[in-house]
């Protein structure tokens, strides 16, 4: 009896401290990981979130932070669908049309109906100057995606007229007035 009491007195606190410490460690690690995106949306610091995340999510955070070059580097060599989509998008942002085209082709081989793959394909074709084939792909896309693709390429190549028409279309479709500002259109009177 006396021995049992001694045991509880001697081992109890150590056990408790160790268990609490371990639980604390686990909960802190888990809490940090779960809250990464929420914190990023609270503060707008997606680059900070990217440092804490890993894999595809890191790439997405980098894209949200505007670091598409880093995202490309991170996703290079990956061949899963999500990575390819993000890689294709990032490559389009960076103007690396041939890389984007490769990613889109690979995606389309797996699934010909993949909208994102088609968007990347169309953008890459437009970027490479193949307007006829690009137009055929753009027609299959939802209107807002098609307009967005045209706007991006037009802005990159400084085609004011094309940018203007795409921006007008986007404004109508999304109700966001920023598109007009992007295409440097005069305000409505």
């Amino acid at each position: 009896m006396g021995g049992a009491t001694e045991d509880t007195v001697g081992g109890g606190p150590i056990m408790r401290i160790a268990a609490i410490g371990f639980m604390f460690f686990v909960s802190v690690a888990f809490g940090l990981s779960v809250g990464v995106w929420e914190k990023a949306f609270g503060s707008g610091d997606f680059a900070g979130a990217a440092r804490r995340l890993d894999g595809v999510e890191k790439a997405l955070a980098l894209i949200l932070a505007g670091r598409t070059d880093k995202a490309m580097r991170l996703l290079e060599g990956r061949s899963d669908v999500v990575s390819l989509r993000l890689f294709g998008y990032a490559a389009c942002c960076e103007g690396r049309w041939s890389r984007a085209l490769d990613a889109a082709k690979e995606l389309l081989e797996r699934n010909g109906d993949d909208m994102e793959a088609q968007a990347i394909y169309a953008e890459a074709l437009l970027g490479l100057g193949d307007k006829v084939r690009a137009q055929a792909v753009l027609e299959k896309l939802p209107a807002q995606m098609s307009a967005y693709v045209r706007l991006r390429v037009a802005l990159m190549f400084g085609e004011a007229e094309e940018a203007r028409s795409a921006a007008c279309e986007l404004e109508k479709l999304t109700g966001c007035a920023e598109w007009r500002r992007i295409a440097t259109l005069p305000d409505k009177k």
Partner: protein, 268 residues
Amino acid sequence: MEVEDRVVRWIVFAAVGAVFGVLIADELLLKDGRRLRGKVEKDGNAYIVRTRFGWVRVKADKVVDVIKGEATHRRGAEKASDSLLFEGSFEESYRRGVLFMREGKLEKGRFELLRALGMRPHDVRVWLKLGFTPTKDGWRYEARKVVKEQKRYEEVAKKVPVGEGAKARELVEKGLARLERRLRSRQKEVIPALPEQGEESGGWRWERTPYGWAWMPSNDWGWRVWQPFGWPLYRGNRCNITIYRNRLRNLTGRVWVGQRRIRLVEDP
């Protein structure tokens, strides 16, 4: 006692393992006897080994074994990666995200929208729903705090339309009155600028009105709230405003009162 000791030992091992697992890299054993060290990822029918110098892709049939250096339990961040699986239907995720956002469940809504964005980053609707604004260089996110702050400033900052001098004057007077209240609440005193302080001083005059003494805007050339001597001259306490009335006619700037300072900025 023995059982407890064992439990404690296991806990210590687990904790040490979790900490040192970060430092241990994976190893890829190749059929030709080479060993590649780094972060190993399975990618379809191949492995990708990432090191700090670059990455290499090795076909699975050339690999004998993969020795994971405890890296599977590596970081808490890894859990977050698993939490966002970019799979399923885009439309479903988008629809759910929008619904959650409408209901005010921001966390869940963002989660679903992020998932949708991972599946279709070319879809502008998702970016807009997530609170991004399109710019020439890509998408810009204005965090809640920033937006809140901007709204607060927009309340005090009014755009003065061109050629509407009367409105501009009204705004300036309103702003000055607000500033005065603010300063008074800080137990400071706003002293009217005296004519000898400058040619264009004028400003608010302490005038006797039918309703008693009150601060009245003077009809002089400009308004000025003068910083009386004796106030500590640090940046937050600075209060020196001069508004030239002749410029008000063509004024298209903003009246800022948030910083305890009114600046009417002319368009270049």
